[in-house]
Every structure is written in structure tokens, then in C-alpha cells.
Symmetry: C2
Subunit: 175 residues, 2 copies
């Protein structure tokens, strides 16, 4: 009998807590920063799901300026996870956008052109876990806005997003 | 054995087609407008799901200016469907917003205050069908942007959104 399909919903704004331990899982946690520790939040759940990637991450995102999320993508890249990032062409040149940082690190980035906005905010992890919702990958969205994210393994939901990513990817320009 | 759970994904921009027949299902379709007829699009699918409401519609939406979607909500209201609309306080006073139109028609509307943005874009139909995604209910989002919507009966996804609506509703002010 197959394991129960993962269907999780996260709501934001998220409480703020230290996420250092998610990046340094091997060492015992002994951070001295002023943030709360060992607190699970919507944001730490999002980071965990993202950092669970072992082979690939396809990211299709309107606005990406959140430093912790950028750090997570860079960490996956340095672990050898194959990453493709599709961003809105206009938004990716805005101050604070992490798209340029990812590109400089050698991550494969493309900018979507030809629509008013590429307004998606979804990620597909290892070709089987979909993360999607209203949440842009910015600090304001995470800490200040009322937002939602769905995280699911349900193939009926995941497969259309994989197909959509592929469709947009081939249309878009390496920039 | 229970029926298979509905899990549908719609992508935008949507093709443009005439949706008159969705509002006047009883009469044979004989519209003479210049738009294509009898074409199923992402937008007509969205309207169909929305118009399937028979008892209640809870709508939690950042931006609502789309006239066809407003017409659908008004049609449900006049059929006796119980409607609650929770809107972003700042956005709802912008030119073209349909929030004032819904309020004037006697629909129960509240404005969310206290966060930077109430950025949700979801609807719950009859307490069991969830419609959620990146799509704001504007004409630009529907016709010009690259956007997504998930439509699902999956209780693990629907129930958290019902709870979230209730939480925000009691926090918000009738305005
Ligand atoms: Zn710390
Ligand atoms: Zn027509």
C-alpha cells in the first residue's frame, strides 16, 4: 500500500526564528544569535522542504529577494543538485533581487519575457514535490504579508506544473 | 469506493472566449458578440467551478477588479448562495475594484487590516472545493500574466484554508 500522499499547507506571515541549524545539520546547534531557537515555523518548514532536494530543483518565481531562500538554493547548488531558475525579466533587475547572485554562482537562470508578468511562485523538488502558492520569495512576504503555500506530492497537481515549467523554460532566454 | 478526488490545475493567460452561456445556461446559446464561442478556456473553467456553488462561497482575495468574476459572484448572491468576501483593505479602494459593487449589492464584505498585504487569492465553494493560486481576480492577471490556479476537493488542502478564512474573518472589520 503506498504511503499517504503529502499535502501540507503553510500560512504566513511566519514567526521569525533562527534557521542556522537547517544549514548546518551535522554540527550540534550552538548558535548565539538573539532569535528564538528550535522553533518550527512556516518559514522553517518551507526551508526544510526546499533543502530536502537531492537531485533537482526547478524554480519559477516572480520576485526573489529573500536571503535565507537564496542561501538555501546556493547550498543545494554546492551539493550538486541541478537547479534551474526561471524569473520575471523585469523583476529580476530590481534592487535586492537574488537572481543576479544565483547567476554569478553558476546557477542556470532564465528570464521570462513576453507577458505582462510571469507571476508564478512555484518550485518542483526532485521532480515530485510541488511547492506553490501566493508567496513571493521576499522578506516582506514571509514576515509581513498574509500568504499561503501548498506543498504536495499529488501527481495530478505536480505533473501540470512540471509541464508548465518545461514550456516556459524552452520559451525563455538564457540571460 | 469514493469518487476520485478532483485535482485540477489551470494556467493563465487564458484564451479569450465568450462566457455568456455560463450565465444563461437555460436558454440556447445565440450570442452575436465577436468573441469565439463554445471554446473551453482556463477562464471559463474557473467561472464554471465558481458558478457551481449551491450553498456558500468564501472568497479571500487581494485584488478583485475582473468584471466577469464580479458578475459571477453577484449571480450566486442573487441565487441565494451565502457569500463572504474578505479583501485587502488598501487594494479594495483602488479604481476598478469590485469590492464596493459587491457591498452595494448586499454581499457581506470585510477588509483585512493589520498586515502589509492580505495577499491570498483563494475561494472555498460549498465548504469543500478550494480554488487557490497566484491569480488575482483582475483582467490583466487573467488575460496577460503567466499565472496558475489549483482546484481541489482534497480535504488535507481544503480544511486548512477554511480554518484560515475563519481566522481572518473574525479578525477583520465589517466596512
Ligand atoms: Zn541562532
Ligand atoms: Zn458571445
Amino acid at each position: 500500500r503506498p504511503a499517504r500522499t503529502l499535502n501540507e499547507v503553510l500560512f504566513f506571515p511566519s514567526e521569525v526564528s533562527c534557521v542556522e541549524n537547517l544549514f548546518k545539520a551535522s554540527s550540534p546547534h550552538s548558535c548565539h544569535c538573539p532569535l528564538p531557537h528550535r522553533v518550527e515555523t512556516s518559514f522553517s518548514r518551507l526551508l526544510c522542504h526546499l533543502l530536502s532536494a537531492s537531485s533537482s530543483l526547478d524554480l519559477c518565481i516572480f520576485a526573489f529577494s529573500n536571503l535565507d531562500l537564496s542561501r538555501a538554493v546556493l547550498a543545494l547548488h554546492s551539493r550538486g543538485v541541478t537547479i534551474r531558475v526561471l524569473a520575471d525579466q523585469d523583476y529580476s533587475v530590481i534592487t535586492g533581487s537574488q537572481i543576479g547572485v544565483l547567476r554569478k554562482a553558476g546557477i542556470c537562470v532564465r528570464g521570462h519575457v513576453g507577458s505582462v508578468h510571469m507571476h508564478h511562485k512555484f518550485a518542483v523538488v526532485d521532480g515530485r514535490l510541488l511547492i506553490t502558492g501566493s508567496l513571493n520569495w521576499t522578506l516582506t512576504a514571509v514576515q509581513n504579508n498574509v500568504e499561503n503555500i501548498i506543498i504536495t506530492h499529488e501527481p495530478d497537481l505536480v505533473l501540470p506544473f512540471i509541464k508548465e515549467f518545461q514550456r516556459l523554460w524552452v520559451q525563455s532566454e538564457p540571460d
